[in-house]
């Protein structure tokens, strides 16, 4: 359980954040400059809030009222920075050992051999940071933070400086950590893709305030999230389970309480819980069930709201069983179909629009 309630002013910028989260991975999501990094710095003890309280798993790290302000080295909070910040004068092996050596033996719960194996660091041990690629550096930095046996791991945009292939690689490692070490992680990102894939609980930060927080699907379904995500990425998240795997066609069928969703194969086993992010621009609406159409996913839906009518574009919010879908259509289409709240429609989702990158394993 991570509890945060702080106010912090830093050179004209004011951060006011209140949230509490109980989840393996909590995502702090928001645009750059929204205050996400300041918030994780406050959790790590690198900046001091003006007022408030921060607690991790019931342990108070900061409490202005009772004068508690643990030094960063006493917080047992690991920190993976955007640009790794390895010690340039030390080998990877010595970088990994740095925090481990400073951890009292009875506090160590992370096994060095396992971390080296998990993050594939064996080959890098005798090298210096200057000789590593961006992805290798980030892996070493994650290992270094883990070996200090933290009680919470902060990751501040750990993928921001990496290319797409490295990103996918590190994401897979983060998933491994979550599943194997059961270490609570606060993951800072401005990428919906990363957040969907990793996070169970999302805290949306904007202009120094918490704009929304809660379970990923619930937060993503909020109409104001469409504005925040931007035109391209607006969408919703559907919590589902793998129902069937169709090896012959390379498809996976996901079942959720509004029906089924066919997506390209996910390498997942039947029964596994997954999250699929469906972007509003990948969803179309038909009044009657269309026939002779390539679209694999035709879902019975009910219009619940028409949102953000700026210019030619309207986001249509629909309920599909208990899930929410957004469809981004033209204002002309809304008029021609007579879309209004309460109307029963068919939501059409292209299977290929939901790829591996927009699915996370819960």
């Amino acid at each position: 359980m991570l509890e945060v309630d702080v106010t912090l002013t830093q050179g004209g910028f004011r951060l006011d954040a209140v949230f509490a989260a109980q989840a393996p991975i909590v995502a702090l999501f928001g645009r750059s400059g929204a205050g996400k990094s300041t918030l994780v710095n406050a959790i790590a003890g690198l900046v001091t809030p003006d007022r408030g309280r921060i607690a991790v798993e019931g342990r108070t790290l900061f409490d202005a009222r009772s004068g508690i302000d643990l030094a960063p080295e006493d917080r047992r909070v690991g920190y993976v920075f955007q640009d790794a910040l390895l010690f340039p004068h030390l080998t990877v092996r010595a970088n990994l050992a740095y925090g481990e050596r400073l951890t009292p033996p009875h506090e160590r719960y992370v096994d060095r051999a396992r971390v080296i194996e998990l993050l594939d660091l064996q080959r890098l041990l005798d090298r210096r940071p200057s000789g590593l690629s961006g992805g290798e550096r980030q892996r070493a930095a994650i290992g270094r933070a883990l070996l200090a046996s933290p009680r919470l791991l902060l990751m501040d945009e750990p993928l921001a400086s990496l290319d797409a292939a490295r990103k996918a690689e590190i994401l897979a490692y983060v998933e491994l950590l979550r599943d194997e070490l059961r270490l609570p992680i606060v993951y800072v990102s401005h990428s919906l893709e990363e957040v969907t894939r990793l996070a169970d609980h999302v805290v949306v930060i904007g202009e120094g305030r918490v704009l929304a927080e809660g379970a990923l699907a619930a937060v993503m379904a909020r109409p104001d999230m469409a504005m925040l995500a931007g035109r391209f990425e607006a969408g919703t998240v559907i919590e589902a389970r793998v129902a069937r795997v169709d090896e012959a066609h390379g498809l996976t069928t996901l079942a959720f309480d509004g029906g089924e969703l066919v997506v390209p194969n996910l390498d997942a086993l039947p029964g596994e819980p997954v999250r699929a992010r469906v972007r509003a621009r990948d969803v179309s609406i038909a009044l009657t069930r269309p026939e002779g159409i390539s679209i694999q996913n035709i879902l019975e839906a009910k219009v619940t709201a028409l949102a953000s009518e700026y210019g030619a574009i309207v986001d249509v919010e629909m309920s599909v069983g208990g899930a929410t879908l957004l469809a981004r259509v033209t204002r002309k289409a809304v008029a021609e179909l007579g879309l209004r709240p309460g109307l029963g429609v068919h939501a059409l989702v292209k299977a290929v629009a939901i790829d591996r990158r927009s699915v996370g394993f819960a």
Partner: protein, 230 residues
């Protein structure tokens, strides 16, 4: 070139004075450099100016001030004498004069290299459980190593060449305070010792070159290990 016993004594004394000057001034120079590089406080400009004073004052004035403060009747000298620490007309005084004259050069070099250390790397070390002192010893100092070497060598070279403050403070006593420059000066004042002057001058050049080469080697050695695997 074989050294006479006398010449050898002069060189040995110069090296002793130079090494002691560097060894004694290094810790306070590191502290001053760190404070100037990292801290903000009232009077910082004043401290900065005070440290740089020996660089701009005539060395004779520095020597005179040292004599007033550390002489047997001076306020600090009188305080230290019962403890067995004497400076006036002793080689220790020559070392003190050399240390003070080299101090600004040392602080400057170390300060620049500390300023070049990314403070976020230090913060990363804090999150890994290191106290501020440990961060300083295991991260800041090693990363500032080239500046430390440069500063130490600069101060050492300055100590070898120190003349004005030394002769004013501890006079020119053969075997006690007569360092290389003082010996050269003495010979230039004595007719018929031109060859002696030349020999000692060549020695001074050689010592300075060795010091420079040593610093180059020390800095390169650490640089090399850092990029060896690149």
């Amino acid at each position: 070139m074989m050294l006479s016993e006398e010449e050898f004594g002069v060189v040995a004394l110069s090296l002793k004075v130079g090494l002691w000057a560097v060894a004694v001034s290094l810790p306070p120079a590191i502290a001053a450099a760190y404070v100037l590089a990292r801290k903000r406080f009232a009077g910082k400009a004043l401290l900065d100016a005070a440290i740089h004073l020996p660089l701009v004052l005539p060395p004779v004035v520095v020597g005179f001030l040292l004599l007033e403060l550390f002489g047997r009747r001076g306020p600090i000298g009188a305080l230290l004498e019962p403890l067995g620490i004497e400076f006036a007309f002793r080689w220790t005084g020559a070392a003190l004069a050399a240390a003070i004259m080299g101090f600004p050069l040392m602080v400057r070099a170390i300060r620049l290299s500390i300023q070049a250390v990314d403070t976020r790397i230090e913060l990363a070390a804090r999150t890994l459980g290191a106290s501020p002192l440990r961060v300083f010893l295991t991260v800041t100092l090693p990363l500032a190593w080239p500046g430390l070497v440069t500063g130490a060598i600069l101060a050492f070279a300055r100590a070898l060449g120190e003349f004005g403050a030394t002769i004013t403070f501890v006079s020119n006593i053969p075997g006690e305070t007569q360092t290389l420059p003082l010996a050269i000066y003495t010979f230039t004042q004595t007719p018929g010792y031109d060859a002696q002057v030349l020999r000692l001058s060549l020695l001074a050049v050689a010592l300075s070159l060795v010091a420079l080469a040593l610093s180059e080697w020390l800095v390169r050695r650490t640089g090399a290990t850092e990029t060896a695997h690149a």
